[in-house]
C-alpha cells in the first residue's frame, strides 16, 4: 500500500516537473487577461477588445505546446475542438490563424495590433508583452 502511494506521488511529481510554463503574449497595448478571457478570444466568442479587432494565433495541430494550450487553458481536447470548429464553420466563423513556429508568433504579435499568441519560457525575451502566465497544473 505504501509502495503504491509512493509511486503515485512520484508520478505526480514527474508530471508537475515536466509541465513547462506557457506564456501568453500580445501586442504591447493589450491589458493582462484572465484564463477565461483568453479562452473566449481563442474560441472567437470575443472578437474585439477596447475597440481593437483581436487576432488569436495558434501553433500547428501537432505542436506539443498547442496540445498543452488546448488541454490546460481551453480545457478542450482535440476531438472536442474539432467538433467545435466544424460547428463554427456552419455558423460562419473561422478558427484562429495557425503559425508554423513560436518565432512566427512572436514576430506577428510584435507587429499587429490585437494579436495574441502563446510561447514557451525558452522563447521569452524582455521586449515581449506578457499578458498571462500558466505555470502548470
Amino acid at each position: 500500500m505504501k509502495t503504491s502511494l509512493r509511486l503515485i506521488l512520484l508520478l505526480l511529481l514527474i508530471t508537475k516537473l515536466s509541465a513547462a510554463p506557457l506564456i501568453v503574449i500580445a501586442h504591447k497595448d493589450m491589458p493582462r487577461l484572465s484564463s477565461a478571457q483568453i479562452k473566449a478570444i481563442f474560441l472567437k466568442k470575443r472578437l474585439f477588445l477596447d475597440g481593437v479587432a483581436l487576432v488569436p494565433l495558434n501553433l500547428g495541430v501537432k505542436d506539443p505546446l498547442r496540445h498543452t494550450f488546448d488541454t490546460q487553458l481551453l480545457h478542450m481536447g482535440f476531438s472536442r475542438l474539432k467538433s467545435y470548429w466544424s460547428r463554427q464553420h456552419y455558423l460562419g466563423h473561422r478558427p484562429p490563424l495557425s503559425m508554423h513556429s513560436q518565432e512566427s508568433i512572436i514576430a506577428f504579435v510584435q507587429k499587429v495590433e490585437g494579436a495574441i499568441g502563446y510561447i514557451d519560457e525558452a522563447h521569452l525575451t524582455s521586449d515581449l508583452h506578457v499578458i498571462y502566465r500558466w505555470e502548470g497544473p
Binding site: S34, A36, Q37, A40, K45, R46, L47, F48, L49, D50, G51, A53, H75, M76, G77, F78, S79, R80, K82, S83, W85, S86, R87, H89, Y90, L91, G92, R94, P95
Partner: protein
Amino acid sequence: MRRLTLLLLFYLGLHADDGYTLGEGMQVGPLPLYVGSYFSIEYSKGQELQHFSVDDIALLSYGSYNRFSYLLELEFTEFYVKSNDQNITKTTQDHTLHLERVYVDYNLNENYSLRLGKYNSPIGFWNLLPINVLRETTSNPVSTEILFPRFTTGIDASYSSFDTSLFKVDLLLQHNDGLDESYNNYNVDQHYALGLGYEQENLSLKINGGYFHLDDTSTLAERYYLLISGKYEEEKYQFMAELGSQRSQKSFTTKYAGYLQGLYRLSPKHIAIARVESYNNEVSDKTNNLLVMGYTYRPLYPIALKAEYQLHSQSRDNQFLCSFSMLF
C-alpha cells in the same frame, strides 16, 4: 439553377486556397470569402412507412471584413425522396434551390452587434446547429420543431458581456414576411423574442420567450412561447435538455414539449446517444413519450454514419432511422 450551382462549386474548387481541412471550408483566393457545403442521405423504416431521401444538399458562403461579416446558404431540400406507405411507392424530386440563410452582421463594439437578414432563430441550443452532420441523431426532437419559428427574417440585436463567464442577450424583431418562408416550420409575418444566455466553463444555460403571428387568419394565429435550455459538456460526455410551452391567446397549443439527451464518447470516433422526449400538442391532439437510442460513427468529425431506434408510447410509431452525412 442546379447546373449553375454545380458549376459554381467546381469553379470555387479550382480557385480554392491550399491547406484545406475537411469540415472547415476553404478560402477563395485572398478574398474574404469562404465556401463550404454539406449533404445528408437518410433512411427510416416504421411499421407501415419506409422513407429514403437525399436531403439538404447545401452550399455555404461567408466572410468578414472589418466590423462586417456575412453568410449565405443555398440549399436543395428533399432533392430525391422515395417512400413506401402500405405498399404504395412514391418518388418525388424537388430541384428548387431554397434560400436557407442570408444575413449581414455588424459589430458595433465588443459588446453589441446587429444582424440583419434571415437566420436560425437563436432559441435553445439545438436550433442553432440543425443540420444532420452536426447533431448526434438523424432525427430532431419534436420540441425543436413545434414551439417556435426555426427561422427569423429581420433583426437580431445582441449584447454580450465577458468576464469569468459569458452573458448574452438576444432581441429578435421580425415585422415582415419571411424570405423563402415555405422552408420555415411556421409561416410568420411577425416574430418578437428575447433570449438570455449564460456560459461558465462547461455549463451553458438559456431562457427564451417570444411571440409570433402566423401569416393566416385562423383563431390560433397568435402564439406565445417559452423555452428553458441547459447543456453540460465534458470531454467524454454531454447532457443537453430543452423544455418549453406554447399557447395562443385563449389556450395552450402545446402544453409542454421537451427532451433530455445524453451522449457518451466511447472513443473520438464512436458515440452512444440516449434521448427521452415528451410532448403534448393540442393542435395535432397528440401526446407522446419516446425513447431514442442511437449510435454515431465519425471516422473523421465532419463525416457521420448514424443509426437510431425510436420507442414510442404509441408503439405503431416505433421506427428505425439511419443516415450518412458530410460537411465540407
